[in-house]
């Protein structure tokens, strides 16, 4: 009982200290409205992306995004390593009823279409590679729930996809590094910028978005498959 009191005090202390710290920093250096216009004040033609967020994280801060993708890959690797199957158990066939299957066969193509839209138009409208990949992975999760993990895994084999994931990561790295070798300005200056608002604008951002979408799709599916297969079924 006494230990519980100490824990409560500790927790309340942490929360109070954090709130005080943030309030203090907020009062002392309140954000200047001019600061928030820093990136917006730069010309649109600098990145060529009408989606300013995509312009920041795939152009000005490309290395940050690259390391993010690496963090994601490490997480997928860790999950797969610790949940690797020790023995091949015979999974029961746990597919859902026909109602669910019909609904899924209608919904998951729509989700895949949405994934492609977000990946291809991520630089001129809301969207982007990460969101697109997660949407596609959830479409595959629907399929796995409706038709059973065994049938889905046979078609989307995690072992082969793990290889594809690493290949996509490598091609992303190479594509980001290529401009440095051909004498263009490092990282982003390989393709022409185009007119902002067009589909073929913003240089390499379109290709980054598509590669990241494929990467996140496969990675998230590998995580889902690792959890489902470890447990037996979804």
């Amino acid at each position: 009982m006494k230990r519980m009191h100490v824990r409560t005090l500790l927790a309340v202390g942490i929360v109070a200290a954090f709130a005080g710290l943030v309030a203090l920093s907020y009062v002392q250096t309140a954000p200047d409205p001019a600061d928030s216009q820093y990136y917006l004040a730069r010309p649109l033609s600098e990145t060529g992306a009408s989606n300013r967020v995509a312009g920041i994280y795939l152009n000005y801060r490309l290395i940050d995004t690259l390391l993010e993708v690496l963090v994601f890959s490490v997480a997928v690797l860790g999950v797969r390593y610790y949940l690797r199957k020790s023995d091949n158990i015979d999974l029961p066939d746990l597919s859902e009823s026909e109602v669910v299957q019909t609904a899924v066969s209608f919904l998951s193509p729509l989700a895949l279409l949405l994934c492609m839209f977000f990946a291809i138009f991520g630089h001129i409208s809301p969207g982007g590679g990460f969101a697109a990949g997660v949407i596609a992975a959830s479409a595959l999760l629907y399929v796995a729930i409706a038709y059973g993990m065994t049938a889905t895994e046979a078609r989307w084999d995690p072992r082969r996809l793990a290889f594809a994931e690493k290949a996509i990561l490598l091609s992303l790295l190479i594509f980001i590094l290529v401009p440095a070798f051909v004498g263009k300005s490092p990282l982003t200056d390989l393709l022409p910028k185009g007119t902002p608002g067009d589909l073929l604008s913003s240089g390499s951002i379109l290709i980054y978005n598509m590669l990241i979408a494929a990467k996140v799709f496969i990675g998230a599916w590998l995580v889902i498959a690792a959890f489902a297969l470890h447990r037996g079924e979804l």
Partner: protein
């Protein structure tokens, strides 16, 4: 307003993280803390009457600050990575000690260490 909600959510998350003993609840609290920080960042970038930061040439509308939104993307990905890995470790602990109660797992581990050390004495 959104910042205040974010602070409240953050506080609830920290309290649950420290006070609750169930490891799964702790992970949920961690996710809640992450959601609160995302909300806080997005609320910082907001301005009165501003639109989402999608801009066409010649467009002079007031836009929200795109930088916090770009930064939040990292937070989301890292949160996903942390939660997925932590969930795996919770599953391993649960398989070994048949409990997700952190105190009980600690006791079990202490007992295991005692059993291991007894023959040496």
């Amino acid at each position: 307003m959104a910042a205040i909600v974010a602070f409240i959510l953050f506080g609830i998350g920290i309290l649950a993280l420290v006070l609750r003993r169930d490891l799964v609840i702790k992970l949920l609290a961690l996710g809640m803390i992450n959601a609160a920080s995302i909300l806080f960042f997005i609320s910082i970038g907001d301005r009165q009457g501003a639109r989402s930061p999608i801009q066409l040439p010649g467009d002079t509308a007031i836009l929200v600050d795109p930088l916090p939104q770009a930064l939040v993307l990292s937070a989301i990905v890292v949160n996903f990575a942390i939660l997925a890995l932590a969930l795996v470790f919770v599953m391993i602990l649960c398989e070994r000690y048949h409990s997700t109660d952190s105190t009980r797992i600690e006791q079990e581990i202490a007992r295991e260490i005692d059993v291991e050390e007894t023959p040496c004495l």
